[in-house]
Amino acid sequence: MISLLIFLPLVGALVAAFSRHAALSRWLTLAVSGVATLVSLGLWLGYDLVAGGFQYLQAYDWIPSVGIRYVVGLDGLSLPFVFLTALLTFVATLTEWKRTDSGFFALFLLLQAALTAVFTALDLVLFFVAFELVLIPMFFIIGVWGYDRRRYAAVKFLLYSLVGSVFLFVALLAAGFVAAEGGVVSFDYRDLVGNAALAANTTTALLICLGFIVAFLIKLPAFPLHTWLPHAHTQAPTAGSILLAGVLLKMGGYGMIRFNIALFPDAMLTLQPLLATLAVVGILYGGFVALGQTDLKQLIAYSSVNHMGFTLLGIASLTAFGVHGAVYQMVAHGVITGLLFMLVGMLSVRTHTRTIAALTGMYTAMPVLGGLLWLAMLGGAGMPGLAGFVGEFQALLGAFQNPATTAFAAAAVIGILVNGALMLWTIQRVLQGEPTTQMRENYDLEDLGGLELAAAAPLVFLALLWGLWPPSLTPFIDAGVQPALQAIANVSDLAGDLAGKVTGF
């Protein structure tokens, strides 16, 4: 079933690429991502929580002479992201329904296939292949269909990511060789978890861990490796921004929990202060820089740096609550920021501008669009009752629990204030008041149509569901992060007390 989720979009992409009819490609993309959404939802509901671990496994030899295999499986950590990938592709297609290029839709299907492979791959080389493959469609989506400075943004995005990939490549090859200790080399994640040579407190393990983390910090992105993000987000077409914010960034956090913590717990303990520092700087810096933005899309892009800072803080805390919260935060950010980018895209199509100063009274002009944007902004601010709150709270709680990161958590709280202020101020500037006469006279400020409402509806529903009823998500994340927590518990007495099941949510 997992292979179906990977190869169906791939076949779809081939058909769409060579099709002369844009309508066919469009419907095909919608159908494929719709089917994938339902299938991944089915897999999610069918996941056996009691048994835990990897399920729906498929394993075949791929390049046997080098020990590379095709292994895919799903656990609680990957399920939400696989689902989000399919769902966001679906809503992104609806958002861009008026496009008339087959290539655009073919690239989205390719992106969907690659992203699904990233989150399901259990062989390190397969993971790397998918990780690289994600870049190519996104590069073209930004570079060909983006806004004015698209070429600069696309090239910057590609080169940053490629540099990260090279570190990842060296590190994962080294991990395979070091773990084998002269024996049979395997890149199978299940063989590597708990490997003593990788988990040990050695310089080699630390260096390999650093190789992984550089790639993931670029992806996340964490300060000071984030400078590609504002450009890529701002210049990408709306659907590209949705996928970029919704899923692409999550590859970083996912990789850190899946690989860094689970494979190199001891090295992560060493790196803990560094990561926590980067997280706090990212939270504060992202928030403050976002305050100074004049472009609405760029503002949301910088607020992503702030949000992903909380994810990194949760990961750096190395506690059950922290890691759990990091995953929750990523899932919530995927839904809420995806929604934000979608709505801002719809807004800017109508007003022909993204400059905040030119936008006032949008709520008065378009109550439905304005209302949804209001909701999404509050979600971005981390208001209780919406998904963003739960993750941020858990991540902070985890960081407080671990004495090593308590101080960082205290500093990070200021970031919540900044972020709240940012969102409220933006609501005040963009949504409240009356639209300018110039805006009213020149543009047709029509409220959302049925198609656009249909695109936004699933995201609004999920933001509310995961905000009001966390148990719909918590047990799965809990099952998914156990290997990582177990690895930490093995090397650290302190964190060992804090590892385990997250209760009360």
């Binding site: 002479s65 080098v66 190519i136 073209f140 698209r150 090279v166 090859l173």
Partner: protein, 480 residues
């Protein structure tokens, strides 16, 4: 034994027929092309049949999987080149038709190099490929760039040959014979390595350095590629190079594989490879001419392949042969796109490729595929080649080399991506004419593209074929 012989003779007589009847072909230019294509494809088939043969032809030409695979690769390269020439016969003065014979002889010479079991046959192979290449590079005899390129290539090539020949004679003196086995046996028997071997080895390495365009012996390459007719640049960047690099690997591991000699050539090759990759990539960065860019890129690529030779192991040689195959298909593909597009009226500057994605998307797509394969993007042939080469270096304990090689791939991304950006992300000027690419060229390109994707996605199959061919060499490499 007969199959390999038939394959070699097909190349010999295919070329011979074309040459003998050349004057009659002036009115029917398609016939010699068909003979050339037929001969190379048949040779490809017969090389494939000879895969599991054993022994040697006349004691000089090894019959094993490696020589068969080499023959197959080079016959394929010859066939693809001939297709590229057929797409635009007037440009290559094909009315005089000897081009097809020369293309076959480049492939034949390179095949002989790979299969050589003997220094003399190795030399004959090298010279055969080289002389045919000199003529092809200078084929536009009225064009000053083409003649200048050929002049440079010829002078430096001849110097390199002199180095090689002198080196061979010294090795002959030290080893007491021309046969690889004989040399290896003498070395194993003697307690002290004869002193004359060292200058011999040094001369051979320098000679091969020129032939492979390893830095600092690479100066001639970009000029030769830029001046040469594009399809011949494709052939010359691949045929003699792949032949020579595999031949170097076989010669070093088989004849000079004794531990105390291997340490020396391994160190030398490590530094040559590091220099070649780094300098090649750095110089490629600011090239504005697409053929020069590909020229420097192929310098860097050869440096990467040399990493596998430096590993000096079965795995390393397997990786070299595999990468040779991947590089051959990819690079011929890339040059063929340039050739086909210049036939369609496009210039040869990177700038001229602006907006190609909108003007003619199939050729832009194919070129992107080949460039990404050269850059080493996963699921394309180049990535698998790099993976195997790097792994062999790590296993041989050459960690520094492996790390430098990986860092170099980052450098290389910059210039490959630059071309891709020009094609897809930059809009062409309003008045540019539309592009029409010859269907024959498109066919050859499609074949190459499918090959790049298949070899890249399922590298295991090709690697097994190559590895199987190395079995006879295992005893010589067992010490490493």
């Amino acid at each position: 034994m007969t199959f390999a012989l038939i394959a070699l003779l097909l190349l010999v007589f295919g070329g011979g027929t074309i040459l003998l009847l050349a004057t009659r072909f002036d009115t029917t230019p398609l016939v010699p092309a068909a003979i050339g294509l037929g001969a190379s494809l048949l040779a490809l088939m017969f090389f494939a049949l000879s895969y599991s043969a054993e022994g040697a032809l006349l004691g000089m030409y090894r019959l094993d999987g490696l020589s068969a695979t080499g023959g197959m690769t080079l016959s394929l390269v010859a066939a693809l080149t001939i297709l590229g020439v057929m797409a635009d016969p007037n440009r290559y003065y094909a009315g005089r038709s000897e081009v097809y014979a020369l293309i076959l002889y480049v492939a034949l010479g390179a095949t002989l190099m790979i299969g050589a079991n003997n220094l003399l046959l190795l030399y004959v192979g090298i010279e055969m490929a080289s002389y045919s290449s000199y003529i092809l590079v200078g084929y536009y005899r009225d064009d000053r760039y083409s003649t200048e390129a050929a002049g440079k290539y010829f002078v430096l090539g001849a110097v390199a040959s002199a180095f090689l020949l002198y080196g061979f004679s010294l090795i002959f003196g030290a080893g007491g014979g021309f046969y690889y086995d004989q040399i290896a046996a003498t070395m194993a028997a003697s307690e002290v390595i004869p002193v004359v071997l060292w200058p011999g080895l040094a001369l051979v390495l320098v000679g091969f350095g020129f032939k492979l365009a390893l830095v600092p012996f690479h100066g001639w390459t970009p000029d030769a590629y830029q001046g040469a007719p594009t399809m011949f640049a494709a052939l010359v960047s691949v045929g003699p190079k792949v032949g020579a690099v595999v031949a170097l690997g076989v010669l070093l591991t088989r004849a000079l594989g004794a531990d105390d000699i291997a340490v020396v050539w391994q160190q030398a090759l490590v530094w040559l490879a590091i220099l070649t990759m780094t300098v090649g990539n750095l110089q490629a960065l600011n090239q504005t001419n697409i053929k020069r860019l590909l020229g420097y890129s192929s310098v860097a690529q050869l440096g990467t392949i040399a990493v596998g030779v430096a590993a000096g192991s079965v795995q390393g040689l397997g990786a070299v042969a595999f990468y040779g195959l991947a590089y051959a298909i990819t690079n011929v593909g890339a040059f063929t796109v340039v050739a086909a597009l210049s036939q369609a009226g496009l210039g040869e500057e990177v700038e001229d490729y602006k907006g190609l994605g909108k003007r003619h998307w199939p050729s832009a797509l194919l070129f992107t595929l080949f460039l990404l394969s050269l850059a080493g993007v996963p699921l394309l042939a180049g990535f698998a080649g790099k993976l195997f080469v790097f792994k062999s270096a790590v296993d041989a304990g050459l960690l520094t080399l492996a790390v430098v090689a990986v860092l170099n791939t980052v450098l290389a991304y910059f210039y490959y991506v630059r071309v891709v950006v020009q094609m897809w992300l930059v809009d062409a000027e309003e008045d540019t004419a539309s592009v029409h690419v010859h269907p024959v060229a498109l066919t050859a390109l499609a074949v190459g593209a499918v090959g790049v994707v298949l070899v890249g996605t399922f590298p295991g199959v090709a690697l097994e074929v190559v590895r199987g061919g190395l079995e006879p060499l295992v005893p010589f490499l067992a010490s490493r």
